[in-house]
Assembly symmetry: C2
Amino acid sequence: MPTLSEVARRAGCTPATVSNVLRNRGRVGALTRQRVLEAVEALGYQPHLAARALAEGRAPTIALMVSSIANPFYPEFALAVERAARSSGHFLIICNTNEDPLAGRAYLEQIAGTLSEGVLVMNANLDFADLHKTEARGAPVVLCMWERPHEPPGLPCVAVDFRLAGQLAAQHLLELGHRRIGAIVASKAAGIHAARYDGFVDALRAAGLDAAQAPVRHARDTTQGGYRATRELLETHPQLTAIFATNDLPALGALHAAADLGLQVPHDLSVVGITDIQLAQESRPALTTVAVPTVEAAELAVSLLRELIEASPRGIRAAAKAPRVCITSAPKLVVRGSTQAPRAERS
Amino acid sequence: MPTLSEVARRAGCTPATVSNVLRNRGRVGALTRQRVLEAVEALGYQPHLAARALAEGRAPTIALMVSSIANPFYPEFALAVERAARSSGHFLIICNTNEDPLAGRAYLEQIAGTLSEGVLVMNANLDFADLHKTEARGAPVVLCMWERPHEPPGLPCVAVDFRLAGQLAAQHLLELGHRRIGAIVASKAAGIHAARYDGFVDALRAAGLDAAQAPVRHARDTTQGGYRATRELLETHPQLTAIFATNDLPALGALHAAADLGLQVPHDLSVVGITDIQLAQESRPALTTVAVPTVEAAELAVSLLRELIEASPRGIRAAAKAPRVCITSAPKLVVRGSTQAPRAERS
DNA sequence: CTGAAAGCGCTAACAG
DNA sequence: CTGTTAGCGCTTTCAG
């Protein structure tokens, strides 16, 4: 691989000049520029990113921490992040923590601040102390999908009003006339999805229902998890006419469970999820869900991270004011085929 | 972030010595080592990866080129690649080409050899010329899922016998008694999936059938694509009893189409796919498919890349012998609920 | 066993 | 306008 000085030699000037023309710094004579450009072309020169990073004191990548890229929601998000990162001149490093805080820590320690300029964190079961440590080392951190806009996490974040999402889902069911609704909370880590469930409860209350009366099951955030939870729910509470799930994957599982129990969705059972992942459109029936602004969140996260990077000139911590919280636009109900009014008005 | 020399100062020695203890080079006195380790600990020192990369002339990352990480197959593969990369000391950069050869080229030119030591290529619609160019610049390239083990592509690759996969799928259908089988070829780029279709034809021939008699549709490699193709196929050839799709996503689409046409799968129509992605287990009915050794392919790809990296000491091209081809273990038929013997023996 | 010195490829002042 | 001079943080001979 040709280097700057090889280009310089060929163009009959110094590396500094070549650098200048390449980055449009300092004025360079038209003729010199011309010769430099030719030399670059002839040699097929490409700047050495590691060298540049070292000299500039900044890295050309950002990291995305995620528990497992194989969860169908993450790739959609990752794709949007990558696009945004790309257009701000960064490459994306994917860090699968596999739900293991130690793996997460190892990643953070190794790349934050040396290979990656900043870190984006999707639900990845990380230790907050580790995150603060990486911040302190000079690598900004942004939480990508904070669930409670009004309860800041003590770290910069983009927040989605998931409580509202829960409300919207529940309201939809209530408006259709459902009164006996089972809830599935997909809480891998404690507390995650709590806001969504809170919203569900809000809506029930607002409709004058006793929320304690609605049966709940916790499940893993997978189709399987939702499948099992639904079967349990329906076995113990056969009179349920609808299922509210805090995420699409378990909602999809509910669809399967219903099929296996001989229930027609939405005729015998309505199902609603949250997020609106790709798959939600592809199930049979298609899933009614509350769409979360994924792409917007990804873009906000990257631009917030960028801002923080710019604002921390070589490791100087920003003043100790409260970390920024960016709020996305509101989640929106998407009605598809998995919900309708309950069949029997009397239960 | 503390640097090597800060550690050295604190430990009362020189950077060179610190470097030595950290990488177990050159002998270091037990006592010095002790002090160095303490200093490292006290300062929370972490090596600066970009600096190390520059000094060593090697990069700590590899790149995975993929057309879009949002295609459900890729994340599964990417996860396996990341694990393998990790355990060989590399980080993974995800490069979504978005099916755009120009985007792919831009990636290759920028990172190959400077940020990434090597490049893994999933079907990403890249220009082979670009790949050869990046090889020539000193960054090894490995194709991750070459479809024809016996027709080497002129680049190092890991090959999966997809022709066999096609055969297995077709044989399964034939053994069940199907004779009127429609084929869906999911060929985003020309020729991709051709091997799978060839295998299908092989099996038909072997069974004494006229392959020309089996209707074929080309489709995009998506559920949607499979959906449309299936509807077309069934409208023009209502007597079909089975659908063979070259990939799982279109096969899943076939399932949906059947449902919309009022056909029971597998009772009225059998469907078989290839790959065995996660989703294949989750459809209703679950999809019969030919499983491809994804994880194995990912691991082979990374280890082949590693080998090539080691073998090319700083950009010296290996001798011009034919590039290596690693062959994975054979694809295997996985029978699930979407296939059974055709209902009417007479069509 | 440890230190001194050179350099990886590039950028960033500051002179000329 | 262009060249000179220092590094960025680390590794790596090669002396001591």
